[in-house]
């Protein structure tokens, strides 16, 4: 299951979406997420879903690949949906023992589920089509103004990029350590919550040690390659807006207008 996380992974194909300026994708994703909370109507969600589907199609990423990413967050989804389902007061439809399901609860739970799914697909779509380097370049450039108030934008961007690069490596390592501990008789699947939590300790300790060692190695490798912060750095692929980027902004603006309008439908 842990390998199924697609958020933060890059899916290399060539598509217009891949080639868009990362700033466009960042802004669009933000706006998309906000738009999900603008609307309250079915029409709005259907429209947002259609827009999302269209982008997935254009991005040439297999739909299955994206859906697989959802599996990793199924529990989160389940919890938030059940909270909304059972804890929203209102007109009762039916009850299961002490749990009662209300019309409002059903509605919010459904909306919540849709929002979360859209949200996850939307943001993973961004990382799937944008290399972490581009992503951090985009962040660095769009947030560059924060430098003036002494926020180390470049450093934060660099840290994010590296964190993203090491996610798959650490996941693989977790897998390996788990198997090694299982071979020694460790049991991760039975027992109560406490016991299970305790069973994780022999995984976390070696994982942390190895992560620290990797960090030290990486720092050294970066230094050896003349890294000395953001000052005076140039780029292989500097960010420059093209025509397609302006078109994308326009389309996103149109999308937003429609979403706002659906509020009153």
């Amino acid at each position: 299951m842990i390998r199924d996380i697609t958020i933060g992974q890059y899916y290399p194909t060539d598509s217009v979406i891949h080639r868009l300026d990362p700033r466009v994708k960042l802004a669009s994703t933000m706006l998309f997420l906000i738009s999900l909370f603008l609307t309250e109507s079915i029409v709005g969600y259907v429209f947002a879903g259609a827009a999302l589907l269209a982008v997935i199609r254009i991005s040439r990423i297999p739909f299955k690949y994206i859906v697989r990413g959802l599996k990793a967050v199924v529990i989160l989804l389940f919890i938030s949906v059940s909270f909304n389902l059972f804890l929203t007061p209102g007109e009762e439809i039916f009850r299961l023992g002490f749990l009662k399901v209300t019309r409002e609860g059903l509605r919010t739970a459904l909306y919540m589920a849709v929002r979360l799914i859209y949200l996850i697909i939307g943001s993973s779509l961004m990382t799937l089509t944008t290399t972490p380097n581009q992503l951090t370049d985009g962040l660095e450039k769009s947030l560059g103004f924060l430098n003036k108030v002494h926020v180390p934008v470049h450093e934060i961007a660099m840290m994010m990029s590296i964190a993203l690069r090491f996610i798959p490596i650490l996941i693989e390592e977790t897998d390996k350590i788990m198997k090694a501990q299982m071979a020694r008789g460790a049991d991760f699947d039975t027992g109560n919550l406490m016991q299970r939590a305790r069973a994780m300790v022999p995984i976390l300790v070696p994982l942390f040690i190895s992560a620290f060692r990797r960090a030290a190695d990486l720092a050294q490798a970066m230094e050896a390659r003349c890294y000395h912060g953001g000052a005076g750095r140039t780029k292989l692929k500097p960010l420059r807006y093209e025509r397609r980027d302006y078109i994308a902004y326009l389309l996103v603006a149109l999308y937003l207008v429609v979403m706002v309008v659906t509020r009153w439908l």
Binding site: Y10, R165, T234
Partner: protein, 334 residues
């Protein structure tokens, strides 16, 4: 002209407690002296803890000597102002490929170095393409490094260094985590860079086979250079190497054992072909010898009617030699 010059270098690793008091000192280099000629291919050997990695980090200015100096192309690594220039001149490749690839796409990783030193965009593009071509990884330029094999990752790391247009590359056990195929690819790449582009190569390794084709082999022990010479010279001194807990290439070992057993095999055989040639020569002689001294079944093995094993004539004369020439064996080569 020398590209690397270490002069009386001392270095200790120190562990300090919270109050900056020294808890433990482990000396890593003590009076290390080494000059490396521009354009040469030098292999550094030495058992675990002999100070090889420490030396490598000195050349790159990642560590600074406690005493003595290290010069890279006449630049003192202790000079802060020159540090970037030094790292540009002498690039470094580490053991673990996963922990030295920074970019999330092969070509972005290769570009990391040039980006850091402020090379203009158009030139970065050229350098990246050239570097990937030099290590034969052009067709992987858009891949994610995580999906490459170990040997390919190491070649990407080498490309990352090449993109800085270095004069010298130090490789610290670049093949230690690779399978035989990856190992061969990496070594071939490094050798090509040396021959074709004249890049000085300092290869630290535990695989003796990789040292065979070097111009020069340097053996370290206890933080200093203890042996220095051509591969043939060094690997002739089998006893000395063993005392330093080092092996020799398998073929050299075989030749050494054969000589110890009494065969007149010369010292410092490095390649399979050489040993083959020597054995063939001996065989030829040995055949004649057996002709003169014993009955004919040695020369015409296919007869095999008189009850003796019909040897194929390859191992049989060797046995003859083994016994015949024991007294003539030469002393140790050292």
């Amino acid at each position: 002209m020398k590209i690397i010059d270490a002069v009386h270098v001392f270095f200790d690793y120190m562990r300090k407690d919270e109050n900056d008091k020294i808890e433990e000192i482990s000396p890593a280099l003590s009076d290390m002296n080494l000059e490396i000629e521009k354009g040469s291919f030098v292999c550094v050997l030495g058992h675990n803890g002999s100070g090889k990695s420490t030396f490598a980090k000195m050349v790159n200015g990642l560590l600074l000597p406690r005493e003595g100096s290290v010069y890279v192309a006449d630049m003192d690594t202790a000079d802060d102002e020159l540090l970037i220039k030094i790292r540009e001149t002498a690039g470094m490749v580490f053991q673990n490929p996963d922990n030295q690839i920074i970019g999330n796409i092969v070509e972005e990783d290769v570009a990391f170095g040039p980006e850091n030193i402020g090379v203009p965009t158009a030139e970065i593009r050229d350098r990246v393409d050239e570097a990937l071509e030099a290590v034969n990884m052009t067709k992987y330029k858009d891949r994610s490094p995580g999906k490459l094999s170990g040997g390919q990752k190491q070649r990407v790391a080498i490309a990352g260094v090449m993109a800085m247009k270095p004069e010298c590359i130090i490789l610290d056990e670049p093949t230690a985590m690779l399978d035989p195929k990856g190992r061969k690819d990496v070594i071939r790449t490094v050798r090509e860079l040396n021959k074709r582009d004249g890049i000085t190569i300092v290869l630290i390794t535990h695989y003796m086979e990789e040292a065979v084709d070097a111009d020069r082999v340097v053996v370290m022990d206890g933080g200093r250079v203890v042996m220095d010479g051509t591969p043939r010279e060094i690997f002739s001194r089998v006893e000395e190497l063993k005392a330093l807990r080092l092996d020799v290439p398998q073929i050299t070992e075989l030749a050494y054992e054969l000589r110890k057993a009494g065969m007149p095999v010369p010292c410092g055989i490095l390649r399979k072909e050489e040993l083959e040639e020597v054995i063939m020569e001996l065989l030829f002689e040995g055949d004649k010898g057996s002709c003169d001294s014993t009955d004919t079944d040695g020369t015409e093995p296919d007869l095999g009617t008189d009850g003796t094993e019909p040897d194929l004539g390859t191992d049989r004369p060797e046995q003859d030699l083994d016994t015949d020439r024991e007294d003539k064996s030469e002393g140790a080569c050292q």
